[in-house]
Amino acid sequence: MNQYIFHPFVLPFVLGMAFVLTYCLVGLVRIIAQLPKDDRKKLWRSLVTPKTAWANIRDLFGDCLFHVKIWKRNPILGYMHSAIAFGWFMIIVIGHVMLFTLKPLQGVEVEGFARTFTNFYYPIFYKHFATETPVFAFLMDFFLLVIISGILIAVVKKIYSKIVGVKRVTKFGFADNLVRFALWTIFPFRLIAEKSNIMAFWWLYSIDLMIFMCMLPFTRYMHIPTEALFILLQHAGLKAREPRKGYNLAQLYSCPSCGLCIDACPMSVNDKNSGNTSAYFMKMMRNGDSEDAKRIAETCLMCGKCVMICPVSIESCDIKWSQRAATPYYINSDHSYLDDCGCGDASNASNCKTPSVVYFAGCMTQLTPKIMRSMKQIMDAAGDDYEFLDKDGGICCGRPMLLSGKVAEAQAMIAKNTELIKKSGAKKLVLSCPICYKVFKDEYQLESIEIQHHTQYINELIKNGKLKVNKGDVNYVYHDPCELGRAFGVYDEPREVIENVGNLRKAKSEKELSICCGGSLGSFNLTQQERDEITQNSVNDLMFNNPDEIVTACPLCLKTFAKKSPVQVKDIAEIVCEKI
């Protein structure tokens, strides 16, 4: 074949490309085949439903190419990633568009099958084989330089990550480092080859591409093709099931190991534990390193901060949960007592009137009676008629069992509680514990009964004038419990309540960035000392503006902070009660 149509240096690229396309196709079929039937149906339906189809298009561009979420968190990293990914994408697109305008250097045109073959590599090496119009030439050079500017930032980040605002970066093994090096050198080689037409650089460029594509499936760069699929699956509304199959497999391979979750994770306060963060967990799950992955799945506090901060929106807590569910822990549980459970508050039983509110304190609130007493006083002061469902002790909401992956055991309790709550006839369920709140919101089928955490309930009472409070001059700081804030976005109601009774000071990290108190039920195996370090870090963060008191809305956070706080820690119900 004529050297102006073909040159052997294109072969490494052609090989790599053929390999990666085949691999991805097989992977795609495999993941879809692993989905349960219902999930598959959901996926097909979502592709043709206008609403999800639009969301797919929006996020495929917004997340895969422009990385909107990284821009929002850290503009420098956002630019770095967009420059490389979007720049590369544009070079590929423009290259293919150019096919129609390229003029062969020696006027040798190819036709038929040979034309299809040359089209495969022409856009990649076009400068060696053809000339282009000045507009295209400019665009190609422009995007190539954009990519190289992104790579420069990546190199700086690798040498000194703090410059780009990242404290800890993910540590990689040989394969990842090799591919990263290939990625960094692809574009400078291309630039030199295009400008000088020295054969050696065309070879280097092509070999780099081959290394990149042949190694891609075995490294973090697999996130490039997988993320697109993951976005479709996520929009179809699929949920984590088996730890390393179907939807979860797509999640695992969509993780780019960027490491933004390492700094975010509350466990990273101790350097030793920064290896327990989601970035490493995903890597271990991908590599089939099941013992370590299982350990991390059990260590995680399930605070959800990594999920919130993840630029790919990977639900790593759900993957950990499905890993737990797949582990046969021995729990000797006996739920026969559920059959004998009565129907709540005896004092209200004789009262035939249907209460408007049913209050469920939950086990943790039973251990913090100040909250219960404050809630009673608040409901009495507001004149709401309520039934105190677990006044004499109740049934667990089911969350601890769910956190250990024990679905059937949890469902037994959920069913009984549902029965008791419906029996009360109330239209509203008020909870004091965010741990309960999460499970009631996610798992209970209470139909028309409105579920509120007491922060929302109290805020409503104040707003509609049922509860009168006096504003004092105490400076409070509010701690967002993970399962109220990050899980359900209840950020404003507690703050509004606090501003009604005193002054609200800001913590260093607020709302979705709030740091777990360290007491979370989520973790099975963090030692007390490791938990204490997390608590101390969280307290320091809250004390940033020297508040007089720390206010939280979770009985577990309250008890945890009380150990380490230099100031008093109170529940939001307590401070409201003080100001009635």
């Binding site: 004092s347 039973q366 251990l367 913090t368 009676p369 100040k370 002790g393 007390q528 150990k563």
Partner: protein
């Protein structure tokens, strides 16, 4: 001239150390932050295991330190080393030069509010072991109103990972049994229960007290922790616990609940401790040099420790340590 020895803390350890140091020909100076000497023990009514009046012991100790230089209502605000030993600034403006420092700073009682599930400060009928001693001394406590059923909870703030204290507070077991017997003496008709994890009757006569508690006083000892306390409609306390010997949860209604609060390190000394370079051990108490032959030495030259500042201890333990610290200080001064 007699060498000055600065003793921080005027409780049992501080007084006894001062007594012995004086006998050894040195000049101890006690700096006590409260208005009188005696420390915690002066707030106690009777002592285990033989119901000996605490006042007798305290009075004798006070008598022994009569000639000792004592600064009451005084605290050390700053301390530095100099060529002659230590220079301590007191909050009354005085400066004391001393050759050696004895830390006899004792303990703080665990704040029962921190164990909110026991309801101290929330329910009227929950009191602490210290408050019960005060009732025995004065006969007055409006919360103690001819109770018919009384419970004692052991290990409040001790051996409890959740409050951050994993150590045993050593004296609460015996104190609880002593107080349970005393309650039976005051209210013979009352039923008295104690909820324990283990009963650690480590001293002479303590095990006998345990047998007597059950045989002569009919106190019922239940092995199991109380998990939560609430109030019923009549304001009586409803407790939930587990009887681990029967392997069954139990629920009981009580008129009075007494919390056996543990010892925690006295935090008010932290600043001075840091200036002297004394670290804490894993239980948060002060670290001594070693637990066998250097229990009164700290890792800093010329700084000694005695009593409950290093770990929870009984009164006899504390007195023993106070005497041994006097010998350590004496040898230190003579070998200088």
């Amino acid at each position: 001239m007699k060498e000055n020895i600065l003793i921080i803390g005027g409780g049992a350890a501080g007084m006894e150390a001062a007594t012995q140091l004086q006998k050894l020909g040195l000049n101890p100076i006690i700096v006590e932050k409260s208005e009188k000497l005696g420390g915690h023990i002066a707030q106690w009514d009777r002592l285990f295991p033989a119901f000996h009046p605490a006042k007798d012991v305290v009075d004798q100790m006070l008598d022994n330190v009569k000639g000792v230089d004592v600064r009451l209502n005084t605290q050390v605000t700053d301390i530095q080393r100099d060529n002659n030993g230590f220079k301590a600034n007191l909050n009354n403006g005085e400066i004391i030069d001393a050759k050696a420092v004895v830390l006899a700073t004792g303990f703080d009682l665990f704040k029962a509010e921190r164990k909110q599930e026991y309801g101290y400060g929330i329910y009227n009928n929950v009191i602490t072991s210290l408050e019960l001693e005060k009732f025995f001394r004065t006969g007055k406590d409006e919360r103690i109103n001819n109770p018919k059923k009384i419970g004692f909870v052991h290990c409040v703030g001790a051996r409890d990972v959740k409050v951050g204290n994993t150590y045993c507070s050593k004296v609460c077991c015996t104190t609880a049994l002593k107080q349970a017997c005393e309650m039976k003496e005051v209210f013979p008709d009352a039923e008295v229960y104690t909820f324990y994890m283990d009963l650690r009757m480590f001293g002479p006569g303590y095990e006998d007290l345990y047998l007597k508690t059950q045989k002569d006083y009919d106190v019922k000892c239940i092995r199991g922790r109380v998990c939560e306390v609430s109030e019923d409609m009549d304001g009586r306390l409803v407790i939930k616990a587990e009887d681990t010997l029967f392997g069954k949860p139990l629920r009981m209604t009580l008129d009075l609940l007494v919390l056996m609060c543990s010892m925690e390190k006295n935090k008010s000394i932290e600043a001075i401790q840091q200036k002297l370079g004394i670290a804490n051990n894993s239980d948060g108490f002060m670290q001594n040099k070693d637990m066998y032959l250097g229990m009164n030495d700290s890792k800093q030259d010329g700084v000694f420790v005695a009593g409950t500042c290093t770990a929870p201890k009984s009164l006899p333990d504390t007195i023993g340590e106070a005497r041994s610290v006097a010998v350590e200080v004496f040898n230190y001064i003579n070998n200088k």
